[in-house]
């Protein structure tokens, strides 16, 4: 794993008697990271601690090697933040506000105007840039909110529920934009309770529940079950028998053969067995599970 951009150690935060985060240990790598959990899981609290807005009750935090509590200026100079709620002044035009958002990050005025123009084009608001933000639809407001979060070219951007309130088309476009951010070299931490959004945009995931870390790791490893699925045209019995004979653990789910192999490459075994039995292949691939299944499984086991 490359050097983490965010680390937390024994991190905890409480609002009075209510514990929002409990002993959170994380080492988040660069890239697109999903922060998933139900409402009230502690996602927004974690983001606010990383921004230096909230201070942890216990534990330590580091963002790009700096402590947000003691050195918020250094940390914030590298961050962008798309909050969950509205953050747009209704009496300003999109162009003026995005220029202002860039200048707030220390971008010189002329460069800020150029960057605002570029970023508004990127999020699809170029034509609307001279309209007042109070006249924007929900989808346009979300795009403008994303624009202010990235206009200053941050090294890391926090996106808190970026698809909240969007219709399916708007959600689709927002997820595409988020996916592209990684290609631009901007690290992304997406907080969401919509697990398919995380599956679609992220390559690393942190699962939170009740302020505790349920699971963390690369998404690919999390969703890969290690099981191979085969569907054949005819009777699956000969294939099942051949796989069992070669040491695979086999399960038949209607017409689908599911098997795992303790040692060796399961796909090479599948190829050999199909060739030996002469079975007609309809489908072959790894069996994956959804993030939602993992989350529910972990949550019930926690």
């Amino acid at each position: 794993m490359t050097d983490p951009i965010i680390t937390t150690s024994g991190l905890g935060h409480a609002y009075g008697d209510i514990v929002a985060l409990h002993h959170v240990d994380l080492a988040i790598p660069p890239g697109r990271v999903g922060l998933v959990g139900a409402n009230g899981a502690g996602k927004t609290t974690l983001i606010k601690i990383l921004l230096g807005v909230l201070h942890p009750t216990v534990g330590a935090t580091s963002v790009f090697g700096a402590d947000p509590r003691t050195d918020p200026i250094t940390v914030r100079a590298r961050l962008g933040y798309m909050p969950e709620g509205s953050c747009l002044p209704i009496h300003q035009t999109a162009a003026d506000f995005i220029v202002y958002a860039a200048e707030l990050a220390g971008i010189p005025p002329r460069a800020a105007r150029q960057r605002a123009s570029d970023v508004l084009t990127l999020v699809g608001l170029h034509e609307e840039r001279f309209r007042y933000l109070g006249e924007f639809s929900t989808g346009m407001k979300q795009r403008a909110t994303l624009a202010q979060a990235i206009v200053h070219d941050p090294r890391l951007v926090f996106l808190d529920e970026p698809t909240a309130g969007l219709d399916p088309e708007g959600r689709d476009e927002m997820l595409d934009l988020i996916s592209r951010l990684g290609d631009f070299g901007i690290n992304v931490l997406v907080s969401s309770h919509v697990l398919p959004d995380i599956e679609r945009t992220c390559d690393w995931v942190v699962m939170l529940d009740g302020g505790r870390v349920l699971r963390t790791g690369p998404l690919e490893g999390l969703t890969d079950t290690g099981t191979v699925e085969i569907e054949v045209v005819d009777d699956p019995a000969p294939v099942v028998a051949a796989l069992t004979a070669r040491g695979a653990e086999v399960e038949l789910d209607h017409a689908t053969i599911l098997f795992t192999l303790r040692e060796g490459d399961a796909f090479i075994l599948a190829r050999d067995v199909l060739a030996d039995t002469g079975a007609g292949l309809r489908r072959l691939g790894p069996k994956t599970t959804s993030l939602e299944d993992i989350f529910l499984e972990e949550e019930s086991g926690a």
Binding site: R76, L104, G106
Partner: protein
């Protein structure tokens, strides 16, 4: 050379130029604050009141200078037909109070109620930076209201003075210092309560109303208390006259006696007591505003 067009997808271009850091951020907040209170880069109706007040503050000075050109020998002194700098500041003081009643809420409330503070919390800016920058924006515009017309009079009358332009300018420099001092007194005396009200109010209109009620009501209360001989310590109640403290200190700065009807003066308080009240309100405001915003940003 090919005659076929080529489309270049520039994609995302990272910023590789300089970053101005915290200072740049503070400068941006000040600039935005000035634009906001003057309605610049906002809808036309948001410009009407601030620019009307600003015009009322500046135009008389230009008219006075123009009249002086026709009237002849003139200098901005108390005995002149147009009054001096002290009188002009007194004239503009009411306009400044009305302007601050609108500007104070405009500087703080929309950022808070529209969620814009979340944007500031992801920028290289502290709570103190933000509040000082917003106060700085108010200071700049109030200075425009008070210093600009006085400067116009100062330069204009010097140009018309028979003693010569340069010698009049240099000979009366103390007036400019007094103007700056009086401006600061009005800024703190009227501005601090406005920012305090704006810190706790949710909407601009009611905040303006509450501010005016506090400024005018406290003065009425001070008058009542100072005249009620049977209330112990009623004399001290005269110091509640928030509307009058800047006026009293202005007169002090210009070496004049306070205007008749000054409640604290009539109750026997020296002008420094008014200055102390302004300072105390400013410090209290700073403490309360900072405490509230530390929970928000």
């Amino acid at each position: 050379m090919s005659d076929r067009g080529v489309v270049f997808d520039l994609g995302y271009v990272p910023h590789e130029g300089p970053r101005l850091g915290r200072l740049g951020a503070v400068r941006a907040v000040v600039k935005d604050g000035v634009r906001r209170v003057l309605g610049l880069r906002r809808k036309a109706r948001r410009k009407v009141i601030p620019w009307l007040l600003f015009t009322l503050a500046v135009v008389p000075a230009a008219v006075f200078v123009g009249l002086a050109f026709f009237v002849g020998n003139f200098s901005p002194e108390a005995g002149s037909p147009f009054g001096g700098h002290a009188d002009y500041i007194s004239l503009v003081g009411t306009l400044v109070m009305l302007f601050i009643a609108l500007a104070g809420p405009e500087l703080l409330i929309p950022d808070r109620e529209e969620g814009v503070l979340a944007v500031y919390s992801s920028r290289p800016l502290t709570v103190g930076d933000y509040l000082l920058a917003r106060s700085g924006a108010l200071a700049i515009v109030v200075a425009g209201f008070m210093i600009l017309p006085n400067l116009l009079m100062y330069v204009g009358f010097a140009a018309l003075d028979e003693a010569g332009f340069a010698s009049t300018l240099l000979g009366n420099w103390v007036d400019l210092v007094r103007v700056v001092g009086a401006t600061a007194v009005y800024l703190f005396g009227y501005g601090a309560p406005a920012l305090l009200v704006a810190t706790y109010a949710k909407r601009n209109g009611p905040a303006t109303g509450v501010y005016l009620a506090v400024i005018l009501g406290s003065t009425g209360l001070a008058d009542g208390l100072s005249q009620a001989a049977d209330i112990p310590g009623g004399r001290w109640g005269s110091l509640l006259a928030l509307l009058q403290h800047p006026e009293i200190v202005r007169a002090w700065i210009f070496g004049r006696t306070p205007d008749p009807g000054s409640i604290p003066t009539d109750a026997g308080f020296e002008p420094w007591a008014s200055l102390a009240v302004i300072a105390a309100v400013t410090v209290l405001t700073g403490f309360l505003v900072r405490r509230r915003y530390r929970r928000l940003m």
